[in-house]
Symmetry: C2
Subunit: 430 residues, 2 copies
């Protein structure tokens, strides 16, 4: 092991030229050692580990019956809104009435795509023009954020407009100023709870501002991706802000469309996705869905009802996930603290939930760090992928520690820290 | 029972006025008896019966493992094209290489919608203009056909253009004339095997003509919905015509997109849907799919692999379906023959596969028959629903006998025949 046994506490920016040269030499030497170890580690994607998936292996022998509590045969066609029994459980967990919740297929991303297709071809629930009929459509993208969101809007030809993230969520001053003036800004992505990748939790106050703010586009739509609503990493179970309720109160009932799924609760590729919104939004969504669908996989809905039993069953299940992954997040923090604290070359989040750690390195070095890590056998998410377009400062790195075993997370993070030290020293000495 | 014990063999059109009046009186009397029976029967939708769904109840305790034959964990994200083991089985059954087959979610209709979204927003695999950029887009709709097809294209704002069905499939003379001249005709629906509702089977010769015909639109696309490819009702297992191969040979490799599913093989709402096409078509589809999806439900794919085991396993499974539903189709024919043969007021199909019987009554009486049946407690598919717009002759009625129990099918068909007799007599005596 080539990890430093004692971390210098002098920030690199305050080192003398000689000290910096010595630091650079040591960092090079550590990195050379690292590359000789032939690592093959991957911190790229927020995937559950096999042990987490094992928690839901009860699905293998479910459902034990083929009818739900109303006697509906879950095997046959129909039931566009999804099984009521499952909507009851997740409505309680997500803070929406089951009538306002749709249970769909396995992927909330697919539901987001469907909503965008409907907005694009038909216009929103309020009856506005189809977005596809506009010359320009823009979407606000709080950044760093979720790359697949940005990819999706970009696919439609929507212009992604980055706005900064603060510790409380999207920078609302920036958001309010933009949406008030520009009618081509039709919507906004938000991951409200334990955001990807910063871990930020949006408060009710922030949700109230998002709900109430005047927008030049009268069909302004917030795609509220509550992917990590139940994914706590500490004893504090942050309740998700109620944007749908806030929008109703503010007189913009159709502004919010919420998404969620069991992808990181049961089986990642075989869970159930949800959509929620106002009565008009749900009717609008189901109307368009019904033009090309006879109904979702109700058998999989019933499997999930029987696996969890109740909202409390889901909560207990999530506690088991936490027990498996919280140590990995602790290991990330420990490795970064051990190797980087006091050097003034990195900051990182200590998320209270979700799937990611956001690491900010010395501006201009993120892509170098990722490249160094790659050459040492550690795959990191490509530089700038959490931004629409590119990371303007080339400093953000998204770390996803859930999938690898704990000892691999430790090994990978020590390697990442080594790369961060080397890239910073190169930059400052260069 | 008020069924006639002997059927007059004189066609109604050749009866004397007195004979016709007597026939009408008898028909009215039969119908009055019918309405007093308080029936509640439904022949509207092509749904499998519970006994058919029972055949796949092995799914309740599958999968027994969580990895496929390559060691992939089916529970996690990924694998956009679907499980190879399942594509091997259904590729063999559908006559396409597994590489050219995509296994998706539960619904082939959703895959058709996705393909139309991609064509609409992005243009086809050959790189043509997005269909949404055209002033007018038309689609040929062989009629009678599948109402949900026509609903779907209509939802996009596509103009559905009916073309007649013949005993060999779409009327190719009509089709060739239209597509050769009109570049706004961008595509065509075809159900090639045991078509909904006529049971027609498209031959290889017809497929070859469809593949080779010159079209004014160079991105002309045939949506080839092979929903009933394996759904034989007799000992003769009609092999589906190979449109994809024919298109490749004719130099129009991207003209065909084939769809299929296990909806009427395993569980109707919880099966697996498939798409197939040229290499370029599959790449194009997967590229766009990947902008908004991380992958399909591979656990459900593995369930189906384990349920069937092989292509022969599927064939054996389909024989069990046939044993359950062939008697219902025989009952339809028997009831219609018993009550209507020789009267010259109805013709109907005797399908060799699929899910429907197409009943043609006296022109101008289909909606009357359906209305009479409704008042007598027998639900039939709305008049004209097998046509885009309306049935020009008001004569076609789609019968779906699979879902009700056999004795209900018998009862319902006797009722339908009574309504056909009455409506015809009213018409001719009126």
């Amino acid at each position: 092991m080539s990890q430093p046994t004692s971390v210098p506490t002098t920030p690199l920016s305050q080192m003398s030229p000689d000290e910096l040269t010595a630091f650079l030499d040591a960092a090079r030497s550590s990195y050379d050692d690292l590359t000789r170890r032939g690592l093959s580690l991957d911190l790229t994607r927020g995937k559950p580990a096999p042990e987490q998936l094992d928690l839901a292996d009860g699905l293998m022998s479910l459902p034990t019956t083929t009818t739900d509590s109303t006697g509906t045969d879950v095997r046959n066609y129909g039931g566009l809104q999804g099984l009521g029994d499952l909507r009851d459980i997740f409505g309680e967990l997500l803070g929406v009435h089951a009538d306002r919740l749709v249970a769909g297929g396995t992927s909330s991303l697919v539901m987001m795509r469907d909503v965008l297709v409907d907005l694009w071809l038909k216009g929103g629930p309020g009856g506005g023009r189809p977005w596809g009929a506009e010359e320009t459509v823009k979407f606000l993208c709080p950044s760093p954020g979720y790359d697949r969101h940005f990819t999706l809007t970009s696919w439609f030809g929507i212009e992604n407009v980055p706005v900064p993230m603060t510790d409380e969520g999207p920078d609302l001053d920036a958001v309010e100023a933009l949406v008030a003036e520009d009618p081509t800004i039709k919507g906004m992505w938000v991951v409200p709870t334990y955001a990807n990748p910063t871990g930020t939790v949006v408060s009710d106050a922030v949700a109230a501002r998002l709900a109430a703010m005047p927008t030049a586009a009268d069909d302004f739509t917030i795609l509220w991706d509550n992917a990590y609503a139940l994914h706590h990493l500490t004893d504090t179970e942050h309740r998700s802000a109620d944007l749908i309720g806030a929008c109703a109160e503010a007189g913009h009932p159709d502004r919010a469309v919420m998404f969620a799924s069991t992808s990181k609760i049961s089986w990642a590729g075989a869970g159930v996705a949800f959509l929620a919104g106002s009565e008009a939004t749900v009717s609008w969504y189901l109307h368009h869905l019904g033009q090309g669908s006879i109904g979702p996989d109700k058998a999989n809905h019933l499997r999930h009802v029987q696996l969890f039993g109740s909202a409390d069953g889901v909560r207990e299940h999530m506690a088991k996930h936490r027990a498996l992954i919280a140590p990995k997040f602790a290991a990330v923090d420990k490795a970064l603290t051990h190797s980087l604290a006091g050097l003034g070359i990195a900051e990182w989040t200590r998320p209270k939930g979700g799937y990611f750690v956001s690491l900010d390195v010395l501006p201009g070095t993120a892509s170098r760090v990722i490249s160094l890590a790659k050459d040492a056998g550690v795959a990191l998410t490509p530089a700038g992928s959490a931004f629409p377009g590119a990371d303007p400062e080339d400093r953000n790195i998204r770390l996803a520690p859930t999938f690898p075993p704990l000892d691999s997370v430790v090994e990978a993070m020590e390697a990442v820290a080594t790369c961060v030290r080397l890239a910073a020293a190169e930059k400052l000495a260069g």
